[in-house]
Amino acid sequence: MMETSTEKYNLPLAKMSINPIPGRVDTKGVVSSVLISLAMIGMMQFGERLDTILFGGLFPVSGRIISFTLIGFGTMMYGLIPGLIVAEINPFIGTATGSSPIAPFFFITNALQAIAAIISGKLIKNVVSLKFCFVYSILATVLLTCAYIPLHIFYFKMPWEKLIPMYAFQGAMTIFIPPFLIYGLLKTVKSAGFFEE
């Protein structure tokens, strides 16, 4: 007779109900993260188009707002490994379908967002709070800017000192908009009865 052990999980994980590393790695955690990532891909269709028209996709702003929101949400709900699944499926599909010329770099930048959510969870325990969402956005923006500077210097050979206004604009947008979206999303999901506290 086959015996299976079922772990009990509370949601969201970043509230430190269980260890968020590796997070919820049962079938529900994996499947939920896959579907959240697909929702992100669907939403990206709207965001990436705007980024391509404005800056040729070199400085994603609306795409980044969507990715901050949904990768942060996935990581907060299910922990690091499902967060990384949410993060990595988007570049995988993006690269396979050729929807963005810099999609291969999203493997790194999206993973950094999941890591930022985990670090924020360590700093602030209550994940369903605006304070947490702001800490996550600031941390993710800093990490992403640090990742984009080498990309622009070594890959695109761009003069980084001339890109500072762009980084500032991108940073301002990604620090102030996603926290409200994540907070709103978490509140809605909570009131819809998906939290298992």
């Binding site: 896959v34 040729g56 690269t95 819809a192």
Partner: protein
Amino acid sequence: MASYAVSVRDGRGSSLTEKHPVTIAICCLAMICAAFATVDITAYLVMLGMLAVAVLVGKIPKANIVKIIGLVIPLCFFITLIQTLSQGGPDIASYMIGSYAIHFSYAGVVLGAAITLRVLILAITMTTFFALVSPPRLTRALYDLGMPFKYAYAFTLALHFLPLIINEISTINNAQKCRGYDIDRCNFIVKSIKIIPLMIPLIIMCLRRASSIALAMDLKAFGSITNRTFYLELKPASVGEKLTAGLFVTGSLLFIIRSILY
């Protein structure tokens, strides 16, 4: 996107798609490293020629490549413009706007063209890889490399559900239209802001659907047996494949050494 999922499911085959995924991955990585190591336009043209052969032999849908080129154009225009305005050296043109002089540098145009080719090589190489290695083969290769099946399968699962989610977005969009919230009539700037009423029902729908899918998978004992068996068997890489991968790696190393020395 949904068409990619359908084409993968239909399984368009060629002689290249039967090669071992790890061999293809090594060749693609070597190509990317070589592209990173140089800004020589001639070298880039040779690499593009090799990719063109791979695209033809691998029977990769031309629409994918055309789509990539279409996406790369605005990006490269933006990069070339910045390079042209910021690089020094002789000018190809200069204009006065009021009292401010704008110089278009020749070196900037050449560098912009090189970066354009570099971006194209990276984008086409990655697309070629995913076109040649179908998700089930990739899952199998990742499993053989030691990744737990549950995570390796996530990519295949994503492709199975992609058309479903795209349909779901369309359904939600139509439902919102019935309520007088028509996102399709907005311009592209407003559209990107107005996606919130689409996002929230979509996420709720996804979480609800995830519960039933996970339950169905658990009832079929998904992931309960550690040593899996597979319908799909990967043939080990032949000597020729190993030799080709070795040649790609050697070529890439030569490019890297050359970039360090000169």
